[in-house]
């Protein structure tokens, strides 16, 4: 009983990014970027709704968002968006059985075929693309 309970880590177990390598980090980043993007979507819909109150309200909103802090947030959103998209396509293809290898007899040291180098490479490529997009986005936003 005590052993069974010790295996129930709950949210702490789900939140632990140190085990299972880069795949767990990607799992976490996918969820965190998803939540961040949902928060941005809600904020973006709210900020754009000020246009129905006329030019003065719109310009006031721009004064609030078109600041260095606003640009930093937008740069982060660009990075989150690119990572979420690229990693999401990897996950989608994986669910379709593409790039996860063939099932085989489990043999020591029991490495999962699905967590292969292709998957890991795709995760690193997603992170790299997000970094590049952030740099480009920042150059456009701060270059104005």
């Amino acid at each position: 009983m005590a052993e069974r309970l010790s295996n129930r880590e709950g949210i702490k177990g789900m939140a632990n990014p140190t085990r299972y390598g880069i795949e767990r980090v990607a799992y976490w980043l996918q969820r965190l970027t998803g939540l961040g993007l949902l928060a941005y979507l809600i904020g973006h819909i709210f900020e754009t709704s000020t246009i129905v109150h006329g030019k003065v309200a719109w310009d006031k909103m721009l004064e609030f968002t078109q600041t260095p802090q606003g640009h930093i947030i937008l740069t982060l959103v660009i990075g989150m968006c690119v990572f979420h998209t690229a990693n999401g396509i990897r996950v989608m293809l994986g669910h379709g059985g593409i790039g996860v290898g063939k099932p085989g007899q489990p043999e020591y040291p029991y490495k999962a075929a699905s967590l292969n180098y292709k998957q890991r490479l795709c995760i690193w490529v997603s992170i790299g693309l997000a970094a590049l997009a952030m740099m480009y986005g920042a150059s456009v936003l701060f270059g104005d």
Partner: protein, 114 residues
């Protein structure tokens, strides 16, 4: 609805949103970013029917995808009949509210009611 169908909708909305959001961002890049946000330019976007329809599509696709994603995360954290029901209905309600609020902006700005 079966979870497998919901996941297909989740992936479908993701792919659709990627394409449309790319067009939305590219429209900002056709001119200087700051200039593209000027009141007249933004209002002109809403008055252009194909663009307004595209904004509406993005709104629906991202709301469905976003709130379904949140639903999946919440169901991963905890399970239980009443909790799952609450999360499912809560997500649908939030999705509907966000779509209604965004559509109001698109309609009012598009019809010159600002």
């Amino acid at each position: 609805m079966r979870e497998s169908i919901i996941m297909k909708i989740h992936y479908g909305t993701a792919l659709g949103a990627v394409v449309l959001v790319a067009v939305h961002i590219l429209m900002r890049m056709t001119q200087n970013f700051g200039q593209s946000l000027q009141y007249q330019n933004v209002i002109a976007n809403y008055h252009f029917l194909p663009y307004a329809l595209m904004l509406e599509s993005i709104l629906i696709l991202l709301s469905v995808h976003g709130f379904n994603g949140l639903r999946v995360i919440l169901l991963e954290l905890k399970q239980g009949s009443s909790y799952e029901k609450m999360v499912n209905y809560g997500s649908i309600a939030s999705m509907a509210i966000l779509i209604a609020y965004g559509s109001r902006t698109i309609l009012m700005a598009g019809m010159g009611m600002s």
